[in-house]
Amino acid sequence: MAGEENTLTAREKELAKGFEAAKDNLRKSDKQVGMVMDLNKCIGCQLCSMACKTLWTNMEGREYMWWNKVNTMPGKGSPKDWEKMGGGYKVKFGGKVMEPIRGKHPTRKEFGDMWTYNWNDVITNKAGEVHLQAKNPDGTTPDWGMNWDEDQATGKYPNSFYFYLPRICNHCAYPACLDACPRNAIYKREEDGAVVIDQDRCKGYRFCLEACPYKVIYFNFIKDVSMKCIFCYPRLEQKVPNACARQCTGRVRWVGFVDDPKSLIYKLVKVWKVALPLHSEYGTQPNVFYIPPLAPPRIGTDGKLDSSKPRIPREYLRFLFGPEVDASLDIMNTELQKVKNGGKSELMEILIAREWTHMFGPYTVDPATLERKPDKKGAYSREDLTSLLENKKI
């Protein structure tokens, strides 16, 4: 557009100024929440995904959505091959010019199928007569899913490898989705910087799905609106941590304010500089950060440990987390060694996370202690369950 600047009419210039100001305003927030995920601890159990699913995406039109998912890496992830779909920005002149990059819409199929198994047939028939099969609701056989690459390793045994990459919306400081929306329906919440889509303003035009380079926005075909991870802001408002973080059995996730020097997130991202954003070259300035995987050492041809090169090719980790991954892994190795030698390390203490509740910054409230009226529709109370069990109805 720079070349066209001179050909714009006075009114068009005025409009451009107004549009820019509107976006600046929507991008503003007083504070910024963020999350750090330790890939050395993630075991790919998908408890985070299920916590999110049962809380946010088991409703009409959201069934196929996984606002939180865990992908096996290296892999195509979900939507399939999302890293090749474009979007985000070319950042120029130190961030003064953010040149948007055209993105591609993921298809419904690329997000993955929703299949069921013929459990009943297998159980009610003679052993071996019916085999377990997965089928989509339309009778077709599923060929992609949220973690279709599950546990598929890359490389040659005994030095093959894979690791898990949990993904949510990155609640970027410069969200491509926010810029893309012609309805100004996407904004950062002033109080915490979470990126949300105003469901009343959204008209389902799907420019956001095109522009988001992480492809974490979904389209609700029934409601004709776009939807995405909301960083569990209704829980944060009650000082309860995000469902994915609180449910995580591996103590993988820290939640807090990225800009608060007292927060553990701040320490991991800005002080120790070990937590890195995924594909920072996309230019959106994510607020979800990852502790890169160290991985076990290689085994040499003589069967002994071979530390001459890493099991996970450094090139691949640089592709995901940028050149900063070298320093991050070096720092972690140094600190690990320190502890192995009997010393103490603040970084290792944080990463071990002995006190579970310390991982969530100011969000320490147990949701079970909240006064609330649970939605009874489709849900059992403890009493219901006891009586059903006693009467052997389930």
């Binding site: 298809t107 309805r183 035009y205 420019f207």
Partner: protein, 222 residues
């Protein structure tokens, strides 16, 4: 300003709310030229940055005819669309669409290119094949502000054949109630009118569309 005459007819609502009725075939339609929306009017830096203005606005011309039977007003539209997009078949599929725009106030004060302003808003009727012949009624106070009203009394009937859409939109001349802010049509009176067409196959939705750059004057026979 070019005029479009809304003729008075004694035909019934049933006859008229039928896009394939012989009546519409025989009437002398007005040709309206439509053109792609300028990038300068796109409130999204993303659209401004990556879309090619020359490729916006696949539909170049609309045929329009309008009548009223003192009870309801009817608009008949015909336009070329070689492959109809009837529904949102996938995330990358966009339905075709048509919109009619009316200024609530004075024509010369209301910007058609910007769908009005705070002081001079616009009313529009928005048809899409997946709305199941229940077009939406909208109010806009400028670019990026169009909002569906709770209620819409607009009805439609549409068909696609011979590589063209045929569409009738109809509504009582007067509609009241706070849930449907909309314009009123008076036999013998005039009102501004504009048009927009979305070609789904060209990825058109929202402000990425073809539109009539100037208001026409709709004159209702008394």
């Amino acid at each position: 300003m070019e005029k479009i005459i809304c003729k008075k007819t004694s035909k019934s609502n049933g006859e008229l709310l039928d896009s394939d009725n012989a009546f519409w075939k025989s009437c002398a339609k007005v040709k309206v030229e439509t053109t792609g929306t300028p990038l300068a009017n796109q409130p999204s830096p993303y659209i401004k940055g990556v879309y090619d203005e020359k490729k916006i606005g696949a539909v170049k011309e609309l045929s329009v005819f309008s009548v009223h039977n003192t009870e309801n007003i009817f608009f008949y539209f015909e336009w070329s669309s070689s492959n109809p997009n009837r529904e949102i078949g996938d995330i990358n599929v966009f339905p075709d669409g048509l919109g009619v725009l009316f200024p609530f106030g004075a024509i010369d004060q209301t910007q058609i290119k910007e769908m009005g302003s705070k002081e001079y808003p616009t009313n529009s009727w928005y048809w899409r094949p997946d709305f199941k012949e229940k077009p939406k009624n909208q109010v806009a106070h400028g670019l990026s502000t169009s909002t569906y009203t709770k209620k819409s009394s607009v009805q439609s009937h549409s068909s696609w054949n011979n590589k063209a859409w045929r569409l009738v939109m109809s509504r009582p001349l007067k509609v009241s109630g706070k849930d449907e802010e909309t314009v009123e049509f008076k036999p013998g009176g005039t009102i501004g009118i504009g048009f927009a067409v979305w070609e789904g196959n060209n990825g058109e939705r929202g402000g990425v569309k073809a539109f009539s750059k100037e208001w026409r004057e709709l004159v209702l026979e008394g």
